[in-house]
Symmetry: C2
Subunit: 310 residues, 2 copies
Amino acid sequence: MSILVVGSVAFDTIETPHGKRERCLGGAATHFALAASYFTPVRVIGVVGEDFTPEHEAILTRRGIDTRGIEHAKGQSFHWSGDYLNDLNSANTRATDLNVFATFEPKIPEAYRDSEYLFLANIDPVLQLRVRQQMPKVKMVCGDTMNYWIADHNENLRAVLKELDVLLINDGEAAMLSGIRNTVRAAAFIMQELGPKALVIKHGEYGATGFFSDRIFAGTKDVNPFRAPALPLAEVIDPTGAGDSFAGGFYGYIASQPVLTPAVFRTAMFYGGVMGSFAVERFGTERLQNVSQQEIDARFNLFREISHLA
Amino acid sequence: MSILVVGSVAFDTIETPHGKRERCLGGAATHFALAASYFTPVRVIGVVGEDFTPEHEAILTRRGIDTRGIEHAKGQSFHWSGDYLNDLNSANTRATDLNVFATFEPKIPEAYRDSEYLFLANIDPVLQLRVRQQMPKVKMVCGDTMNYWIADHNENLRAVLKELDVLLINDGEAAMLSGIRNTVRAAAFIMQELGPKALVIKHGEYGATGFFSDRIFAGTKDVNPFRAPALPLAEVIDPTGAGDSFAGGFYGYIASQPVLTPAVFRTAMFYGGVMGSFAVERFGTERLQNVSQQEIDARFNLFREISHLA
């Protein structure tokens, strides 16, 4: 079933110990959509400038992604520039030029109205909420956010959190959002007080933990946390978009299944790790543009093998 | 089959956010022996002072642990004092009084000579090596170390590493020992250049990763890394000895099995996590003194449940 994703479509200038790339196609919605496209139809809402050419659009449409909701505005696209020279686990932002994104006003094409899954990528919570309100009948809402919105737009963010079935964040964001350092208690607080029915807390190279409230699965009390591994990698070429790719694999798999069960959620966390592990193998979205079903299956089996007892 | 462990038997004065305990029985060999005792016979080599009473010894002997190798010397036992008030993941040492441990000279009782598994707990590598050399016929040698020995006694430590089948360390120690930040490459370097045939790198609350060289298992080329989870805990009462308890569960299980296969190694990593998760539930060794086989089985099943797809 279709996922509607709203988020940034951008150009990234990235430097890592493996080299530098100027203005490669990026943005949370882009990474998410490419990763999810291997599992289910994806529709994108975003805004780009005049520097976004038909060749860029083809990167998405070649993967069957519906780009009719990408608005073309006068000016330049959102541009992020940063490096991972000190630490591959955390980006050092050099410049953020919002450009056409500064006045982004999400509009939902008529053809997108029947989308059943909504993904609110990491953008201003005011925009996240606006999209959510225009899609009252979706079957499920999943969202991402970041430290900036938690710290400086907390009230707006809280209005979004109330609408979420699943929130995807990392360890630091979970601690910041809850004011609690212990992960288990932070997760309980977020689910009990802030809204999400489930939470995936990402631990970078250590994988991710899923936490479930008793509101998430119909007809089961199976609410133990779940730990999914990340692949131990000897080389990370470019970590940009790893989290969005995780989200794409995770949510793409969920949307491809008829009903959300504990087994589906857990398998989805493995597919999140799988797509994240592909994403970092090359710069930008290069790797995610061309993964074969066979490679995904083999990588999924590898994830299983490195984490499962016989 | 019997494990011979050499290491510290000590008293710990510990303060955590959950309270304070004065001079409770501790030490790497103590935690290790208690955890391993649920799987296999354990023999301890260490030294204690006059403050070590028959009641203290009974904590070990009640679990069937052979204490004939614990030497009773004049003076006070090794005493460590520290807290976890700032961060439950890292101890702040207030005082280390080596006392009788300062002149410890390990002697191996005749009755211990047929031990088949040797565990070199975290002590001076000179002593580790001396014990190892007195036990040339053991089936397997596993060892632990810490940042202090890596930094200031590197040459002595390297002589021990050459003798190890399995080295257990944490992320920081792996990086320090190899000079490499990437875990996979650090592990490869340690196994290829320093000696251990396998490596378990502990990630604290995120579990542990096992790495295998092709010298570790006879007759198999299955050398993929393996990730074992840790239990997400809402409350850690006292983290002291968690790593030694992990080692005890891990090595105790290995020693209880007829031959080291990939499946045995992986299951052992789960039992390591299981015993570590018990250890932190109470102060000192309190919890490890009384765990039932049923509780161990249930916890093992929980570890499996939170990490395995259906």
